[in-house]
């Protein structure tokens, strides 16, 4: 480990001596300016969507699962009408445009694990992910590597996340490549009897909702925590 707590390969990280604006930054600013000047969208519309996008994250999804663990009726609703259930944790899939976040569409399904079935999601074609309720996908989820391998070698990939599944549990890989978005509802782990919703939410990490990890009493962080630095960090994600 290095002195700043992660061990990415600095040699391959491009870091100019002068803090130069990058090619993509130049292009993004140029496009945004021209769009506003031509009335393709307004600065106000851009600001509104930016604010919306900055507040999405995995917390509502964790609450949804915790509620389902505590209330069998809510679990039934979550599986039968996931977008209705989402509203109870503050997520309206039709926001902010009136027809949702366009890239994510408005067809959501929750995949419930059972004692004999473990679900895990991937998008082998791009990075389809239930953004409105889980926030932005982690970088590794978007890599060609994860997308290539999970649909063919799921047990090996899960093992790399530290998840070793016995043969009695079958793996269900959901390749969400069209308009449906999926999320996993894991089983409530042992040792959480009498826990409150707030306590349960702590152990329902994003990785558990993707299906590369299982919730466990005492574990409140994702499996992957090493983080490559940004050249010019933003505030979201």
């Amino acid at each position: 480990m290095t002195d700043h707590g992660h061990d990415h390969d600095h040699d391959r990280t491009v870091k100019p001596m002068v803090d130069e604006i990058t090619d993509f930054e130049v292009l993004e600013i140029a496009l945004r300016e021209l769009c506003i000047e031509k009335g393709i969208f307004t600065a106000e519309e851009h600001r509104r969507f930016t604010e919306f996008a900055e507040q999405i994250g995995p917390t509502p999804a964790a609450h949804l699962v915790a509620k389902a663990w505590l209330d069998p009726e809510f679990k039934k609703l979550a599986l039968a009408e996931p977008m209705t259930a989402s509203k109870e944790v503050g997520v309206d899939w039709m926001e902010p445009t009136g027809f949702g976040t366009p890239s994510d569409f408005t067809a959501f399904q929750i995949l419930a694990n059972t004692p004999t079935v473990h679900n895990v999601i991937v998008c082998a074609l791009c990075s389809c992910y239930p953004r409105p309720i889980l926030g932005n996908s982690p970088e590794w989820y978007r890599t060609p590597n994860y997308r290539r391998r999970l649909v063919r070698w799921p047990r090996q990939v899960l093992a790399e996340f530290g998840l070793y599944l016995p043969d009695e549990i079958s793996v269900h890989v959901q390749d969400s490549n069209q308009k449906h978005r999926f999320m996993v509802m894991p089983l409530r782990p042992e040792g959480t009897q009498d826990w409150t919703e707030a306590q349960l939410v702590e152990i329902i990490t994003r990785d558990c909702l993707i299906g590369v990890a299982l919730p466990k009493a005492g574990v409140t962080t994702n499996v992957i925590t090493d983080t490559r630095p940004a050249v010019h960090p933003g505030t979201a994600g």
């Binding site: 990415h8 803090d19 130069e20 604006i21 990058t22 993509f24 930054e25 130049v26 292009l27 993004e28 600013i29 140029a30 496009l31 945004r32 300016e33 021209l34 769009c35 506003i36 000047e37 009335g39 393709i40 519309e45 969507f49 930016t50 996008a53 899939w93 445009t97 027809f99 976040t101 366009p102 890239s103 569409f105 408005t106 082998a124 074609l125 791009c126 970088e139 890599t143 060609p144 590597n145 994860y146 997308r147 290539r148 391998r149 649909v151 047990r155 079958s170 890989v173 959901q174 390749d175 969400s176 490549n177 069209q178 983080t227 490559r228 940004a230 010019h232 960090p233 933003g234 505030t235």
Partner: protein, 278 residues
């Protein structure tokens, strides 16, 4: 100004970027290519499922400001009727070609798709864009030096003459795919039906993955109605069809599968790609 040596060095760098079978010459004559290789060259490059790869270290990444701004601009363009998500997915994930697909960052491709759609749909001239890029670059000539990365439009257009799609109005209050509900008639298949994924020729675009084409599966859910991606992606009038979640047993799907015989992979497929299993 660049020097002759700098220009030669950049050309040398580009010449080492390969995205072709190394055993074939550049632009091979037709007799050097077989059907399998032509299919490989024409394969939509986003379709990576099942391609062999070695384990790598998975890690997170801090979000760059421009990445966030790129995501936002893409969504705002869809909101305001400039493109459908399905156009964005094709332009940024497939039309870029293999070298850029594998060579550029994820959001770099999203951003190039924005430039591409605005130029192709005649909203922005390419020279106009290049000149603005040069201007932005010059604005930060000495480096950021404490300056914020910010767009400073010279005016605000009223936008009333901008050509927009129907979808951004039609879908309001309904959502997508719900906006297409009731337009595809009766679904041809029901849950439990055995189906085979057709092996239609593919050029330009599809979201039916290569790894299931020709394989036998079972209908796990009758999902929703929508135009197939191949039709919707060109934003032309297209008839919605039923989509199905199809379940494939991995021990049958994959040669040499090492998991259990109960493991499955499910993916969504439009009706015209499916036929009843014999």
């Amino acid at each position: 100004m660049s020097t002759a040596a700098e220009r030669a060095a950049q050309l040398d760098l580009v010449a080492r970027l390969k995205s072709a079978y190394p055993e074939l010459p550049d632009a091979p004559t037709p007799d050097l290519l077989d059907h399998e290789r032509i299919t490989a060259y024409l394969k939509p490059v986003h379709d990576v499922g099942g391609e062999p790869d070695a384990p790598m270290k998975y890690e997170d990444k801090q979000y760059e400001l421009w990445e966030h701004m790129t995501y936002v601009i893409c969504e705002v363009l869809a909101w305001r009727g400039i493109w459908l998500s399905e156009e964005r997915r094709r332009i940024g994930n497939v039309d870029v070609g293999r070298a850029q697909y594998l060579g550029l960052p994820y959001y770099g491709r999203w951003l190039l798709a924005v430039a591409r759609v605005l130029v192709e749909k005649h909203h922005i001239g390419l020279t106009e864009l290049s000149e603005r890029m040069a201007e932005v670059k010059a604005r930060y000539g000495g480096g950021l030096a404490g300056k914020k990365l910010d767009a400073t439009p010279k005016s605000q257009g009223d936008g009333s003459q901008v050509k927009r799609n129907e979808h951004h109005k039609r879908a309001v209050g309904k959502g997508d795919p719900q906006v297409y509900a009731g337009q595809a008639g009766q679904p041809k298949f029901k849950v439990g039906d055995a189906v085979v994924v057709r092996e239609l020729p593919v050029i330009f675009y599809t979201r039916t993955p290569e790894y299931v084409r020709g394989a036998k599966g079972e209908i796990a859910a009758v999902a929703y109605e929508s135009p197939a991606a191949e039709d919707e992606t060109w934003d032309r009038p297209a008839t919605p069809e039923w989509f199905y979640v199809v379940r494939f047993n991995m021990s049958e799907l994959w040669y040499g599968y090492t998991g259990t015989t109960d493991d499955v992979v499910q993916t969504e497929i439009p009706e015209h790609w499916l036929q009843a299993a014999p």
